[in-house]
Subunit: 359 residues, 2 copies
Amino acid sequence: MKKITIQTSTNQYDVTIGEGLRHQVLEYLPKQYSRIFIITDSNVAPLYLHDVINSINGASPVDYAVVPAGEASKSIQIYYDLMSDAIKAGLDRDSLIIALGGGMVGDLAGFVAATFMRGIDFIQMPTTILAHDSSVGGKVAINHDEGKNLIGCFYPPVAVIYDVETLHTLPFKEIRSGYAEIVKHSFIHESSFWSTISQVNLIEAINDTELVNHLLKGIEVKAQIVEQDEYESNIRQFLNFGHTLGHALESEIGYGEITHGEAVAIGMLFAFQVSEKLYEIKLPYEQLINWLKSNQYPLKIQEIATDKLVTRMKRDKKSKSQKITMVLLREVGKPLIEQLDDQTIHLWLGEFLQELKCH
Amino acid sequence: MKKITIQTSTNQYDVTIGEGLRHQVLEYLPKQYSRIFIITDSNVAPLYLHDVINSINGASPVDYAVVPAGEASKSIQIYYDLMSDAIKAGLDRDSLIIALGGGMVGDLAGFVAATFMRGIDFIQMPTTILAHDSSVGGKVAINHDEGKNLIGCFYPPVAVIYDVETLHTLPFKEIRSGYAEIVKHSFIHESSFWSTISQVNLIEAINDTELVNHLLKGIEVKAQIVEQDEYESNIRQFLNFGHTLGHALESEIGYGEITHGEAVAIGMLFAFQVSEKLYEIKLPYEQLINWLKSNQYPLKIQEIATDKLVTRMKRDKKSKSQKITMVLLREVGKPLIEQLDDQTIHLWLGEFLQELKCH
């Protein structure tokens, strides 16, 4: 069992990572709650919901809601329905919401908690590798038809309880998706982290000790940045490495058709190319693309008009005054933020997408 | 022109009150914005929207949205539509939202600003007396079918620009509604404020100097409390004097059928009675009811089943563990919070509603 304490402007909370923590939830609750409302999804509920309810052991009355698995549940309609459920369950300001699931559940349940009666406590219980990223840092959101996470706020949890045993049931696709964010954390951090991750073979089972270490390191990288810039005025944007194109691809291809991590993987490749062209440097592009291929990341994507992607990239939350904001690398571990004009991006993206087809 | 500076945990902002401020908006913007998006309603737009746009004088590109006047616009649907409008207008994180209108517009536009791309700056430009209350303190929200303001958060504005000239066009009903909150501020403050307000005759026109002083005093009372307890853990609940029953009446009778202030006025009378019964004391109940009657507050309300109101009161955001939370008075200027069981409230409320019919 490992623990990291994260400091925010309004609170501090512990991230606890270990085996079987879902059976010990009661130990990690920071206080007694009038009621507990668990929000989970249709994939996770049959596997772990009852373990969590049992572990609360009647200390507070428990209700739950199960939303359909998949990014489509981060909709305004499901958000509103969860509000209705929370009211019907009799939640008050001394109640707790537990987000049991991956990033989708964390974002959605977190936004419900942030805005229910102007904010009640919530706890993240991530059940995916990808959620090592989203469960730390206090970003919660739902999607708008026009783009991902356009509706949301900053609202830190009161605890993160990360049971690595819940990762054993993940499909390979999800392991791949999650490791893309670990790879991202490695690129914006010192190069030794990438050296470790570049040796990982996802096709073979990863043991829990190794997994805990990778997650812990990823969370540490993120926590260090978030503690310095909680509200994303400057360096927190580094965490968006690979995400400008990544988000655009997710929106265009459709959530569910491509995983977040798969989209970010392609986004990182493009950010490598832009960095190499703009700064006239050499980055480990071949090493990355080979690692992605050997771990079966899908690099061949459907035909999408370049200008559609460019329009999406301009609409990204980080964009300023209609320019495209990208996180680039001077070298591995040295990220920086650039505003780029759309003609240049249009040209380079066209070339990149063409080249990707040949892999 | 008068100014109060309000300190919050995350920022500080100025409330400026004076005549003709809508013509000088540019002077009060704390910084240069990439875009400005004005949200107003169908009553206010024809009167003051163009003054505000003109006063910005092209310093930033301006767009606007006009929502139907009335509490019904604080809906999830209009909230989502405003998000769409903001996206279409090309707002980014360096953009500003201006809430031009009464409390409804402030709450709605504030919640849009709080959750658009995880929060952008917003400015309150109140155009009602009632909004002296809601524009200070950082509470923003929309309504749920099950109750008022159930969806929202704490999100302070970056400035409040209060042009008292915009109050000249208010219908009498709205002046009455606004003064109910000033009366509330007077009861939870020292008794001299109530002595002043109890002399006011709303039927005659109130001059701007007097009005500015009342608003200023009301805002000062509120600001003092909010600075001590921004997130409503304790004393901020004093501001809810008259609101437990007030909110229940608004929900049952229907927003628009009774104004907020009219409902709060009745709520304050009930809080007086409960205080007198519980503490066996005497409060200026007769003085309050006479003042309300002489200023034509409607005290005869439609027949409503007492248990419906009690159910609503239990569901109030301030309620804890299914008890009813009310703010009571030990004496004028000495508020305190009580948890009351519903049988007692049911009995006393029944008697109160019966008695109210005779006025």
